[in-house]
Amino acid sequence: MEALVRQGVDTIFGYPGGVVLPLYDEMLNWPQVKHVLVRHEQCAAHMADGYARATGRVGVCLATSGPGATNLVTGIATAIMDSIPMVAITGNVNSAAIGKDAFQETDIQGITIPITKHNYLVTDVNDLPRVLEEAFFLANTGRKGPVLVDIPKDVFIAMTDAPFPDKVERRGYKLAGAPPVEQVDVVAKLIAEAKKPVIIAGAGVIWSRSWESLRELAEKAQIPVINSLLGLGSFPRDHELSLGMMGMHGEAAGTLAVQEADLVMGIGMRFDDRLTGNTNAFAENAKIVHFDLDPSEIGKTVRPVAWVEGDLAESLKMLVPKVAEKRHDEWVAQVKKWQNEYPLVVPTGKFLSRTVLNSLNQHAGAHAIFSTDVGQHQMWTAQFIKFTQPYHFLSSGGLGTMGYGFPAAIGAKFAHPDKEVWAIVGDGGFQMTLQELQTAVEYEVNVKICLLNNGYLGMVRQWQELFYDNRYSSVEMGSPNFGKLADAYGLKYFQCSRVEDLEETLKQASAHDGPVLCEFVVEMEENVFPMVPAGKSNSNVIMDPALTNGEDYNAVHASWETGHGRRVPGAESEHTSDDVYASGTVTK
């Protein structure tokens, strides 16, 4: 406990059991650390993760041996894939019983080796102060990640006078030094030569707190900025150089810009396959430049012509003064033309997930924290919520963990009691972790749940529709009566299935002081576009059919011209009656 307090930990998420009894007993003596009792250990890990993503600080979770520890596994794997700072503490059976198949013994160290940045089994209490200090240090420095500390029951009980180290030193762990000037110079020169540059900014920009430098760089050399999914918020979406998200369901303008660009700068991102599509055809006309903290990411999936290893906080600061002021007006005009030609759209006349999220964006997009689950609603959130600040978008990108969204929102709310926090979840994923409703009610965690109920495992259904000839197999998903469920748990519930009620529902949900479940009964068969089919080149991006099939729609742009969406130049303008959710946009 002393170790946790030393680290400034104010909240831990956990679940007790036999071997952690000594720790739970000791906890009573440390009122400054709040323990949140969850309903499933997986959610303790997701809450710690949500807490970390919303603050940039280490999230802490705790579980007992055996099943308690294995229940953490999905949450730890989620965290490693997205480089989230987390310390997971597990109890284990007495040291003497380890290896003897004792009751509730499991080799959690062995199990979590591939999904932790590092892990420990502490067999001597004198090592404990050092190990805990190291665990926090490793989790929160360099490329961040989860660290697990497995502590046998007898070690919990034993006393030690061993001091906490003043400084963590591991010969095998060196933090990146200053990036080589020559490498930075090469990049500055490439920028000077480029005619059609783009930046793809990832979560590394957020974790290194270098969003200011990114913005300076983009503005100085007038370079459009695309975000990876997890990079959303590192560059303000309402900035005129912002192109939104890149990737399988990225906005078309960004995808096309990368394919057309002569210089693509990946900054704090890892050229993940969901972003690059087929790597052989990725950015075919471009020189690729890569900035990353982790040397093993450089050249892992694409081959850059130049790269800068090291902390972005240093490398970007070095780069900005070396870059000359520059304009790419023609290129930016071309990119904007694509934006106008292939906007995100909300078809009118139906009650769609997009209808809800577009409205939610206008309602709370500018200030709230949003966590998502995984599926179609996740992609629509990334598209329609116009993130302008870091630490406001929490989503399982790398692992794609259904069940993540709701507990992560709870974790974020514990970190930011004063902020509005929305969990955007699907009917499928919500049913994986909805037992945490009890946690939310009990601790009076004021999270707003936006449940987009389409009656399907929507993302899987979309693939079956498009790539398996409409043969739906195990994607129809029944749900409980969510109103009764909310009643049973004792939280506020709204149901909404009409555009007319949308605004009022969101207003009341925000105003309510306490957790709220808002169920939006949306169109069942709605698809996410644009879409790059898996493994295909980004040039094969499929645009939203609504753009060409004569359907009525509202085009939705980020808000730099009108505050909420933007007029499409050239389109005959005629305001719809649905201005509520499409203000400033036009109907085709």
Binding site: Q109, I113, S296
Partner: protein
């Protein structure tokens, strides 16, 4: 005897690692997970208490090698790690071969063994054991020669490598 060059796609990596519970497990797990196939893996104590020096040989092109080294360096236990080129290293392997004396011509076997300066390590009615230490390619030639007789068992240690360059 001068060291022999391995085929260009085989690399000998020497690594210094801090010993903790799980260290070897962590390394091997990383190799398996990333689909890096190991030709050999060798670990033992070294001059620094609490640390081990490993020799790992992997097959693959330069990009596989580059990833292997970067992924190894990323592990918290790995203090240093480098691919040692033939000129920068001494690399040796031990091979033990046993025979049922009744099944062989002792003179013929010992004649071949002495060509390689292999040593007799065990010599009883039922078992003759010969030990040879040398560069990997010679170990292979030696074993080929020794297998012209009906062997009982063969075991190879896998190569051990030591840096000799000045840096």
């Amino acid at each position: 005897m001068s060291d022999v060059k391995l085929p260009t796609h085989s690399h000998a990596i020497s690594a210094l690692v801090q010993n903790e519970t799980g260290t070897i497990n962590r390394l091997v797990s990383m190799f398996r997970r990333r689909g890096i196939s190991l030709a050999s893996f060798n670990a033992g104590d070294c001059e620094q208490p609490g640390y081990s020096r490993l020799t790992i040989t992997v097959n693959g092109d330069d990009s596989v090698l580059g990833q292997t080294i970067k992924q190894m360096e990323k592990l918290i236990d790995v203090v240093e790690c480098q691919d040692l080129a033939p000129d920068d290293r001494v690399m040796r392997e031990v091979a033990l071969v046993s025979y049922y004396p009744s099944q062989i011509s002792r003179e013929a076997v010992l004649a071949v063994a002495s060509e390689y300066e292999a040593k007799i390590e065990h010599d009883t009615e039922n078992c003759l054991v010969l030990q040879y230490t040398g560069p990997v390619r010679l170990v292979e030639k030696y074993l080929e020669a020794m297998q012209t007789f009906p062997v009982r068992e063969i075991v190879r240690s896998g190569p051990c490598v030591l840096k000799v360059s000045d840096q």
